[in-house]
């Protein structure tokens, strides 16, 4: 019986302690949203926290739409979004979104490193992802092998950017394999000689073959010059003006140092 009470006291003590500690970190700046932005935001947060230990930045994923919803509910200080806001989102006064473009990102069309196809037009990419028209790599000058489509799940910012820039009004074929993150797409394409997918340019790290789109190479230089057609903004979204600590983090990212860090990672600066 004695040990039972001892255990009970211990457990209650632990609960009280964890609640007290949880309250201690309430002064942190929270980021929720795009899984494409997450790795970059984490890197920036780490650097920022080193200089400003009093102002912690915590980064979570969840997806662009989730990030916007978290901003709506005031569950987060900053929502991250890896696509342009839709018109109705931008114009909804009740949401009162303020957006800051922290960087721009190219959308890379990726294939297996051994795939000989080096250039595709946007039209060809769309015909492939529709699952009609182009279904064999031979039709675009490759080997005689079926095209295996790899897409992202419904609601992903990367998917919606791809839909806006490539698919126009058509739908992605139901045959496309659906993966839940940039990393999963990359892993699949890396090992499947027939695969084609799309992902954040900054996350490819040279492990996959990136096809030229309409004859333009997917490089930071071409994105900066405005020639590469598949570009999307990385947004920080707040409800109304950002709070003081959130503003400090945003200022850090937009500073030459923050921007240089993003550029080193393969993104394109905001301005």
């Amino acid at each position: 019986m004695k040990s039972f009470w001892a255990a009970a006291v211990l457990i209650i003590g632990l609960i009280v302690l964890s609640v007290a500690l949880g309250r201690g970190s309430a002064s942190a700046v929270n980021l929720v949203g795009s899984t494409s932005i997450q790795p970059f935001a984490e890197m920036l947060a780490q650097e920022f926290n080193r200089e400003h230990p009093d102002c912690l930045v915590e980064v979570q994923g969840g997806g662009s739409t989730q990030g916007l919803r978290a901003v709506d509910n005031s569950m987060t200080d900053i929502g991250t979004c890896s696509r342009a806001l839709k018109k109705e989102e931008e114009e909804d006064a009740a949401k009162n979104y303020r957006t800051v473009i922290i960087a721009r990102d190219g959308l890379a069309i990726v294939t297996h490193p051994g795939n000989p196809v080096t250039n595709l037009t946007i039209d060809q990419i769309r015909q492939m992802f529709e699952g009609r028209g182009i279904t064999n790599w031979r039709q675009v000058g490759g080997k005689d092998a079926p095209v295996r489509l790899i897409t992202r799940e419904e609601g992903s910012g990367t998917r919606e950017a791809f839909m806006q820039k490539v698919m126009d009004k058509s739908r992605i074929s139901g045959k496309a394999l659906t993966q839940g993150s940039n990393g999963a797409v990359k892993e699949l394409v890396k090992h499947d000689p027939c695969a084609i997918g799309y992902m954040s340019l900054g996350l490819v790290h040279g492990e996959l073959n990136m096809v030229h789109v309409d004859g333009v190479a997917p490089t930071v230089a071409e994105v900066t010059a405005g020639r590469y057609p598949l570009v999307r903004p990385f947004l920080f979204v707040t409800k109304g003006p950002p709070g003081e600590k959130a503003q400090r983090f945003i200022d850090f990212i937009l500073s030459p140092r923050g921007q240089a860090m993003l550029e080193r990672e393969g993104l394109v600066t905001a301005r």
């Binding site: 994923g61 419904e154 609601g155």
Partner: protein, 304 residues
């Protein structure tokens, strides 16, 4: 008097007398038990409250039998996912039953005691491996193997069935072992006394007598397989089309929820709850069958 009534009587006695320690403990335990059950009730009520209106809005027939899932355009048809879940589950059960039942027969009928004490715990250890690890092994080893040797994208019904089959192996094996061990010894002694060999005794007497327990094992395994999510997302491919062969990729009900939950809002989110309702109903049916089968077995055992 049945056990729950006894409990409630005791709790009431505790309220009346208020002093006796035993009654107080009984009352406390009753509260704990009820809160666990109310958790289940709350979850069920919430899923149904969120999911059922959208099913009615779309129409039960269209929701279940349509193959068009374009949630952002307001088209919600989960037929391919129901089919996908069933394919994957049936495949997993084929594997789990062949290996699990074989193992259970070996362990209970043919195996020396020392070997049992090694094999049984190791199979039960399989249950302790996190599902994401199964998925990872599936992606790294199984999927490339299927892609290179059997064709297709590798991510497939077959890959998910194998992964799920191994995952449900401990459930199927250990419940089958219990069922086989519960067969009274005189059955076997009688059969052997009549001149049957050990194998004849096993498949003509022991397996027949343990049949309902084995069915319960399979159905509980099915419940586990159909509800598994993480490993399946990683190896199933999650396409929206109906699978036409075991080498085609599929999307299951669970992976549909898990993939899109993070993003969904409005009707899309409600439709994911409705997917959950469908899954809930399927699992309830399976569990009810398991309960009925095992209860019938219990009744039969008492009548003997």
């Amino acid at each position: 008097m049945t056990a729950p009534t006894t409990m409630i009587m005791r709790a009431m006695a505790a309220v009346r007398h208020g002093l006796r320690r035993e009654n107080l403990i009984a009352a406390g335990l009753l509260v704990l038990a009820l809160s666990a059950i109310s958790g289940l009730a709350l979850i069920a009520a919430f899923i149904f409250k969120e999911g059922v209106p959208i099913i009615l809005k779309i129409g039960v027939g269209r929701f279940i039998f349509s193959s068009d899932w374009h949630p952002l355009e307001g088209e919600f048809g989960i037929f391919p996912m129901i089919v996908g879940s069933l394919w994957v589950t049936v495949g997993a059960m084929v594997i789990a039953v062949v290996f699990g039942l074989g193992c259970a027969v070996l362990l209970t009928q043919f195996c020396p005691k020392q070997l049992v004490s090694i094999i049984k715990p190791s199979i039960e250890l399989l249950a302790g491996i996190p599902s994401v690890v199964y998925g990872f092994i599936g992606v790294v080893i199984l999927v490339p193997f299927i892609r290179d040797w059997l064709g297709g994208p590798g991510l497939s019904v077959l890959a998910s069935s194998i992964v799920l089959g191994v995952m449900t192996l401990p459930t199927v094996t250990s419940i089958s072992v219990d069922a086989l061990q519960a067969v009274p010894l005189p059955y076997r002694e009688g059969s052997i006394a009549l001149g049957a060999t050990q194998w004849q005794t096993t498949h003509m007497v022991v397996l027949k007598a343990a049949r309902s327990g084995i069915v319960a094992a399979v159905i509980l395994g099915m419940g586990r397989a159909i509800g598994e999510t993480m490993a399946v997302i990683m190896v199933a491919g999650n396409t929206l089309d109906l699978p036409h062969s075991i080498l085609d990729p599929v999307r299951t009900l669970t992976s549909n929820i898990a993939l899109e939950m993070g993003y969904a809002a409005g009707d899309h989110q409600k439709a994911l709850f409705a997917t959950g309702v469908t899954l809930f109903v399927i699992i309830m049916i399976l569990n009810t069958i398991a309960l009925l089968v095992s209860r019938r077995r219990g009744a039969r055992a008492r009548n003997r």
